[in-house]
């Protein structure tokens, strides 16, 4: 697989990332060589593996569904780039 600038543009769009033409060309070149390298995983025999497990297997971490002390609205909104009253403010969605 070789990455073309149009491929870079496609995946960048999925990732909500605006790129310059120069970046598209550069990333296409760099990612092509990375992809060629990572392609070697196909050579490893994984026929015995049906599914993968977590790194360190643990039982699920359940907890009671109860209200506990948490951040105040002011603290939670303190880092927001834009807000109105007790809400995050964003451009029109609909």
């Amino acid at each position: 697989m070789t990455f073309q600038p149009s491929d870079v543009e496609r995946y960048a769009k999925l990732a909500r990332l605006a790129l310059s033409e120069e970046e598209k060309a550069r990333f296409a070149r760099e990612l092509s060589s990375v992809l060629e390298y990572v392609g070697q995983i196909q050579k490893v025999d994984t026929s015995g593996i049906t599914e993968y497990e977590t790194v360190v297997p643990l039982p699920p971490a359940w907890r009671e569904d109860v209200v506990e002390p948490s951040l105040s609205v002011e603290e939670a909104l303190a880092n927001a780039p834009d807000r109105k009253d007790n809400f995050f403010k964003v451009p029109r969605v609909l």
Binding site: Y11, L17, E23, S33, I41, V56, N79, P91
Partner: protein
């Protein structure tokens, strides 16, 4: 007492306990060194002089009144700027978080404060921990204190440089693919990556969640033990946190307990000696292995064939996880938002374009690709299966040997700019460290010599999951063989 900042934490704690020195003096000696060399090395993003001295005074008062103190009382600790500190700017080395002030402390920060450690500052890093040289920081590169023309390694290069330059006694970094062991090796200090889940990740800004692990730097393995004991332990705020304690007895300088049984077996993975390993590193690590053998321990060659696919597997999994984790930087809840946009999509895309550096963008695109419809099975799923094969191979080899020994990095510290034009070349610097993260085992890097130019080289000791304590014991044993710098 002169040059307090050059001493180790376990030496300093006994001087503090007997009141031969004060925490304020010790903190001042570190702050003086930061004043002297901090700007030049660019090791810190934020220095916390005032709160550090305040904490040091508080500890001195406690000791003078005979009140109980924590296990790191008065010892300066620098923390990587990826760990949330309440009310203290936490940037992750990124423009997108340049104005982010967390409303809470990470669990490790809380534990350090409870242990009465002196948090001295927030250290520089590759943006979002993506890099092996600390050149990918929005706040400029950190320089290697041993040779400022060279990189300190990364991504926790600021923490490594701060310990090496005696600007702090201990430091925390994070090790997702080697980001603590590799800089420790390149700077000539000790770095320990605990078992996955040994240290809570609550309040650690996520890069690749199945690989990320908060990990300490120190001048020797005893100090690593000391701080690991403080920061590890179960945390209900991290669902991957291990319930059991991995460090059993309170720190007592390992008195009488440092020895490893002579039946201890060290395995040398033959896959670690292939192409790309610098002859000088090969020689230094071989020399150490000979000493281990001469000291009466069993040393044998072992094989883990899937190791050679480590970097390939790692760059699929870490970019996939990163592309998902970094979706949160959308200009809505925190971080920077651009001013000029026509609609919601453009706000996201332009905000992220302006906020992220090139390496982060590359990894988001690659991660989005390997997770996308049509490529998921060939890349992400296949990589997870190879990871499972690797895990099986480690489990098998640890039935035969107690530890694995090998180089930490393929070469000594490289020059600034040497690898920034070729991402793959940069990635290959982590060839010996990433398998540890993929299988979630503990590993420590300690110095094993210097090359002709005086640059340090490191070796790593890898153990089975949850054997953190004996991995550090093995490191203490190796240090006692006189192989430290």
């Amino acid at each position: 007492m002169g040059e307090l900042n050059r001493k180790k934490a376990w030496e300093l704690l006994s001087l503090l306990d007997t009141k031969e020195i004060s925490a304020v003096e010790l903190t001042q000696s570190c702050l003086a060194e930061i004043d002297r060399s901090g700007k030049k090395l660019n090791s810190f993003i934020t220095v916390l002089s005032d709160s550090a001295l305040e904490k040091a005074r508080e500890v001195d008062v406690k000791r003078s009144k005979g009140l109980p103190v924590g296990r790191l009382a008065g010892v300066p600790v620098a923390v990587k700027d990826i760990l949330c500190t309440k009310g203290v700017r936490t940037t992750c080395g990124s423009r997108i978080l340049q104005n982010f002030f967390p409303p809470y402390d990470a669990t490790v920060i809380r534990k350090l404060k409870e242990a009465d450690a002196v948090v001295i500052g927030k250290t520089n890093m590759d943006e979002f921990a993506m890099g092996s040289s600390t050149e990918h920081s929005a706040f400029g590169p950190t320089l290697n204190p041993i040779d400022p023309a060279r990189v300190p390694g990364g991504s926790s290069g600021g923490s490594a440089a701060a310990v090496t330059a005696h600007q702090t006694i201990l430091a925390l970094g994070t090790d997702t693919g080697g980001s603590v062991r590799q800089p420790a090796s390149l700077c000539g200090i000790a770095g320990f990556r605990p078992t996955y889940g040994a240290v809570s990740r609550y309040g650690l800004v996520a890069f690749a969640s199945s690989l990320d692990q908060i990990s300490p730097f120190a001048k020797d393995a005893r100090d690593l033990w000391l701080i690991s004991d403080v920061i590890s332990g179960h945390d209900r705020r991290d669902s991957t946190s291990i319930p059991e304690r991995l460090f059993d007895y309170p720190y007592s300088g390992f008195k009488g307990k440092a020895g490893l049984p002579k039946t201890t077996r060290f395995g040398i993975p033959k896959e670690f000696w292939g192409e790309g390993l610098a002859p000088e590193v090969r020689e230094a690590v071989r020399g150490t292995i000979d000493k281990v053998s001469k000291a009466g321990y069993e040393v044998e060659e072992v094989s883990l064939p899937a190791l050679s696919a480590g970097i390939a597997v790692y760059y699929i999994i870490c970019t996939a996880e990163a592309s998902s984790n970094l979706a949160r930087y959308d200009g809505v809840k925190y971080g920077v938002r651009v001013n000029d946009y026509a609609d919601l999509f453009e706000m996201y895309a332009k905000t992220r374009a302006a906020g992220f550096g090139a390496e982060v963008k590359r990894r988001i695109i690659l991660g989005t690709y390997v997770l996308s419809a049509g490529y998921y099975d060939a890349y992400y799923l296949k990589a997870q299966k190879v990871r499972a094969v690797m895990k099986k191979e480690f489990a098998e080899v640890f039935k035969k040997v107690d530890f694995l020994l090998g180089p930490t990095t393929p070469s000594a510290a490289f020059k600034l700019g040497e690898k920034t034009d070729d991402p793959l070349e940069m990635y290959l610097n982590d060839i010996y460290t990433v398998p540890v993260n993929l299988v979630g085992v503990p590993a420590v890097s300690i110095p094993c010599g210097k090359n002709r130019e005086g640059l340090p080289m490191g070796l790593q000791i890898i153990g089975p999951q949850k054997k953190d304590e004996i991995v550090l014991k093995a490191a203490i044993m190796l240090e006692s063989l006189g192989i430290k710098l």
